[in-house]
Symmetry: none
Subunit: 235 residues, 2 copies
């Protein structure tokens, strides 16, 4: 049993470096990213990133696939993502709460895209409204199930649910929101829904950052369809 602490600490050690943590978090949605992109995500040079990636690989937290001259890294398993989520959720404390965020920070907290789906306060509020209306229901394995009435509602909104193909994680996933510490809608349904909200003019994505803006038309639609207004999102 004395070997256990070493094991835990060495695993934690891999996550303990800010650059490595940034890379792992960037991979949290399960996609595979090339080394260069991970270097960018962690704000380090390619050499440094390479060294980190080698360690994560040796530690069994990542796997790699070589394709042409790119090397695509991905998390070794969903348990890795799960552990990261637990670490992230571990500190509820004052530290972050107290300092006021920058303007850009507030925008990001309010609404942003998390890879290709909606996150932030708005993402959480929308997801919650969808659940309250029983359009989706949380299920095991961090999935959301689409109910019949949800199927219909998304159809009315202009989303062809039947055309979506579920991944091995299902049609809709629960994704932990870093800033809100609650789940928001991800997976193919989440991605397609985000696309829809952008193309029908409810949301506008920023070109330079991950921030997302709600248009006047968007607020009207959110209020009518999901009972969400500006005041109910922010507190």
């Amino acid at each position: 049993m004395n070997t256990l602490p070493n094991h835990v600490s060495s695993t934690a050690f891999l996550i303990a470096d800010p650059a490595r943590a940034a890379m792992l978090i960037a991979l949290c949605d399960g996609r595979a990213l090339p080394a260069g992109e991970l270097a960018y995500a962690a704000s380090v040079t390619a050499q440094t990133a390479s060294s980190h990636l080698a360690k994560l690989l040796a530690g069994g937290l990542l796997t790699v696939e070589t394709e042409g001259r790119h090397r695509y890294y991905r998390l070794a398993g969903s348990d890795v993502a799960l552990t990261l989520e637990h670490l992230a959720a571990l500190r509820p404390s004052e530290a972050v709460r107290r300092k006021p965020l920058s303007h850009e920070g507030q925008n990001l907290r309010f609404a942003r895209c998390c890879y290709d789906h909606l996150a932030g306060q708005l993402g959480v509020a929308v997801t919650q409204a969808l659940q309250e209306r029983q359009y989706i229901a949380p299920a095991a394995e961090k999935q959301f199930l689409l109910t019949p009435s949800g199927h219909e509602w998304f159809g009315v909104m202009g989303l062809d649910v039947a055309a979506l193909k579920p991944t091995r994680c299902g049609l809709a996933r629960q994704c932990l929101d870093w800033t809100e510490r609650r789940h928001h809608l991800a997976g193919p349904l989440g991605v397609q829904f985000m696309t829809l909200l952008c193309s029908n003019g409810w949301l506008r994505r920023s070109k330079s950052s991950r921030a997302v803006q709600v248009t006047p038309k968007g607020w009207a639609g959110l209020k009518e369809q999901l009972g969400i207004d500006q005041n109910s999102v922010i507190p």
Copy 2:
């Protein structure tokens, strides 16, 4: 959002030191231990331990209670233990599997208390039997739901379910077992059930460690009530 990786990594950093990890693991059963004992558990001097404990305290992973000239440290919450278990379960690899465990290690693997509920092979086997008999059912949010027949069965066993008050995580939680990598029963119901099994003489807790022993009467009861015998647990 760039602050998130820092947060994760700084939390992981606290666990990344072997001495600190050893202390945290020693506290995993929820007990409060004095600084000296933690120093011993981590095989470092008192000064070194003190420095580590101060860091863990500042990081919010521990809380402390001063009592006389002793200072008793304990985990800040069960989420800390949960995170540690996830870290421990992260590496499926060869390392541990191959080496035979010590006698003490085998005992711990077989049955131990995790916080205040039953863990190890026995804990997993019992939890599984409870599910097969539909006394409890896994639900979202890592919970177990107590079925009507389960309510009745626990009552017959001598556990007053109505007297339990659910926490914000519900009445019964799924807790990941780090040696078995499967869930066992936790939460108020798990705690009370463990207490019951000790008071009715089925189990006997060790004074010096977290290991738990099954009495002959316990084996008879487990076989009769849940179909669990010695052979069905160990493989």
